[in-house]
């Protein structure tokens, strides 16, 4: 069953086109990374999915129209926006009380369990907490909600390296099960690489790449080419070439593994390198690289 289905999703602010006909489908039980440069339309796409902004085109989230049924949808969807949005005056205990009071799927004991692992006290106000603690509190509230869809926009912004690692670990271990769906947008791609099941690139308001991680691993190969074999490697039409440590690194789409292995060391490209190759190649033109 499709958790999110969008067809021809468009949104413009004055003359700026934020979403230029987005087509995407996210199935239940996937962990999708939405990667794109600033201003590519990630947040606008999320706002449309979460019913925070009107849009043109077709969009169904868990079978509902998010714009007209936001409050119903929010029983099954939770999200963390890209900046700290907890009101500064609220006490930790009040935040727990409030979410318990309005959310039928909130498990207070679970949230308190998360909080005991942190230095956050129940009597503290949000304004007294550090930036990282506010994010921890928000995550504790959100992860204690038994939702079908979790949308995260830069969830670990402002967190230190230890907590970021801990966050993705607990997302996988405590939160994710096969019936839940997670969509995450982040610039820290290396942190989510091993968490994702699917990868999407968004650029200039369009989805330019949509592929499962399994496919990414079987389809794309990076070769650190021996200088002597560079001409032969280039003849195989790599989609991207870059230099590192004085060697040429070529990225191949649908390359033949044995043939490439003869040219140099093979490895799976990182998401960042893949992004540069795919989005960089398409600059100026907007043909869909998906499928």
């Amino acid at each position: 069953m499709a958790c999110i289905e969008a067809r021809g999703l468009r949104k413009s602010f004055g003359t700026t086109i934020a979403l230029d006909g987005v087509n995407l489908r996210v199935d239940e039980g996937r962990i999708v990374g939405l990667i794109g440069p600033n201003g590519a339309g990630k947040t606008t796409a999320f706002n449309a999915i979460l019913g925070l902004t009107p849009y043109q085109g077709e969009l169904r989230v868990l079978g509902r129209d998010p714009w007209t049924e936001r409050d119903q949808l929010m029983r099954d969807v939770c999200f963390i926006a890209d900046v700290a949005v907890l009101p500064r005056w609220i006490r930790v205990s009040q935040a727990l009380d409030y979410v318990t009071g309005v959310h039928p799927r909130f498990d207070r004991a679970k949230a308190e369990g998360f909080l005991t692992k942190t230095a956050i006290r129940h009597t503290s106000k949000v304004r007294e907490l550090s930036k990282g603690m506010v994010t921890q509190l928000h995550l504790a509230l959100i992860m204690a909600i038994d939702a079908k869809l979790l949308v995260l926009d830069e969830p670990t912004l402002g967190l230190d390296i230890l907590y970021r690692k801990q966050f993705y670990d607990s997302l996988l271990n405590d939160y994710f099960d096969r019936s839940r769906t997670i969509v995450v947008a982040t610039h820290q791609v290396e942190e989510v690489q091993h968490v994702l099941t699917d990868l999407m690139f968004i650029d200039r308001g369009r989805i330019v790449f949509d592929c499962s991680m399994e496919k990414v691993e079987s389809r794309y190969l990076e070769v650190m080419v021996h200088p002597a074999r560079l001409a032969a490697a280039r003849a195989l039409r790599p989609i991207h070439e870059r230099q590192a440590f004085g060697r040429s690194i070529l990225l191949f789409d649908h390359g033949d593994r044995q043939q490439l292995a003869a040219l140099g060391e093979l490895r799976t490209p990182s998401i960042a390198d893949l992004f540069v190759a795919v989005v960089g190649n398409q600059s100026g033109q907007s043909q869909g690289a998906s499928q």
């Binding site: 706002n47 979460l50 019913g51 925070l52 902004t53 009107p54 936001r70 409050d71 119903q72 949808l73 929010m74 029983r75 939770c78 999200f79 963390i80 926006a81 900046v83 700290a84 949005v85 907890l86 009101p87 500064r88 005056w89 609220i90 006490r91 009040q94 009380d97 409030y98 979410v99 318990t100 009071g101 309005v102 959310h103 039928p104 799927r105 909130f106 498990d107 207070r108 004991a109 679970k110 928000h138 959100i142 038994d146």
Partner: protein, 307 residues
């Protein structure tokens, strides 16, 4: 809205029981509580006003006692002046404070949640824009009047007890004190005034303020008060009339404007029976306008994001 929303089967919070239990939520109740947490001035301001007044009243009582030297020589009119008026002032002070708090609260609430971006958190929870706006309008229309009633009654009781103690043995009969303040009658009149005037008659004011608060890109105070000024000015220049201003004044002074001037507050209110009040067309027109303003505010909140 005041009934529990749809129930959703859910495992019991706090226990690991697998058997599904029914969890009911009360979004309106919790949204109102949230407003009280976030705006403590709603109850602190009238409380402080009451405390300051009681302090002033105590000083007044002590001075009065010294002057008396145990002799009570005032005629009945002066007695009434000395004994009943402080209670009316106390009521007016607390009511006025609550009224001001209501104005500033209504003007800031929907603007403030956009300015501090917390609207994104509130909107991530299953609470509709209608529930949120209803919770917010309940503050000036229901919570503040009821709160100021309770605070006023308690304040007046404290004042009565204080003056009974201070004036004891001063020659003034404590019974006269209780008669003049006609405590329970006045309390009832006060409640009636708060419900009819502050809760119903002023509804369009608060509706307008919430609408401006939901809409304004910045400086909601200016957007709330400038348009009425401009309308009055243009009307005066163009037609040399003051209908809009008269209408605003009528709305502000309340439906009892027809009674004789100079009569005291409580008498004025007493003049208007519930039947007269409810058959006043101005009440229903005002409520309709308030509903239209609030409906627009609900719609606007749906479209508005953080600023």
């Amino acid at each position: 809205m005041n009934t529990p929303s749809n129930t959703v089967p859910e495992s019991h919070a706090g226990s690991q029981a697998i058997s599904p239990a029914v969890v009911t939520t009360w979004p309106l109740f919790w949204s109102i509580r949230r407003e009280l947490w976030g705006n403590r001035s709603i109850y602190l301001a009238p409380l402080i006003a009451a405390a300051v007044f009681v302090f002033g009243f105590l000083i007044n009582m002590i001075i009065l006692r010294r002057r008396m030297h145990g002799v009570w020589t005032l005629d009945p009119a002066q007695q009434h002046e000395a004994l009943a008026v402080p209670y009316e002032i106390a009521a007016a002070l607390i009511m006025g404070t609550a009224f001001l708090v209501g104005i500033f609260y209504s003007l800031d609430t929907l603007y403030g949640e956009r300015r501090d971006r917390s609207i994104l958190f509130w909107k991530s929870l299953p609470v509709s824009d209608l529930t949120t706006v209803l919770a917010k309008v309940a503050i000036p229309l229901a919570i503040l009047p009821l709160l100021s009633f309770v605070i006023t009654v308690v304040t007046q009781l404290i004042m009565l007890l204080l003056s009974s103690v201070v004036l004891l043995g001063s020659g003034l009969s404590v019974a006269a004190l209780w008669t003049h303040s006609s405590f329970f009658h006045v309390s009832l009149m006060l409640l009636y005034h708060l419900v009819t005037v502050h809760g119903l008659w002023y509804a369009p004011f608060y509706g307008w303020l919430l609408l401006v608060s939901a809409w304004s890109p910045r400086a909601p105070f200016l957007w709330a008060f400038l348009p009425p000024f401009v309308i009055c000015g243009v009307e005066k220049i163009a037609f040399n009339t003051t209908h809009f201003l008269t209408m605003l004044q009528h709305r502000l002074t309340g439906p009892e404007v027809m009674t004789a001037p100079g009569s005291n507050l409580m008498v004025v209110i007493a003049a208007l029976t519930p039947v007269e009040f409810l058959s006043e067309p101005g009440l229903w027109i005002g409520l309709a306008i308030a509903a239209a303003f609030l409906g627009t505010a609900v719609r606007l909140r749906r479209y508005r994001g953080p600023i």
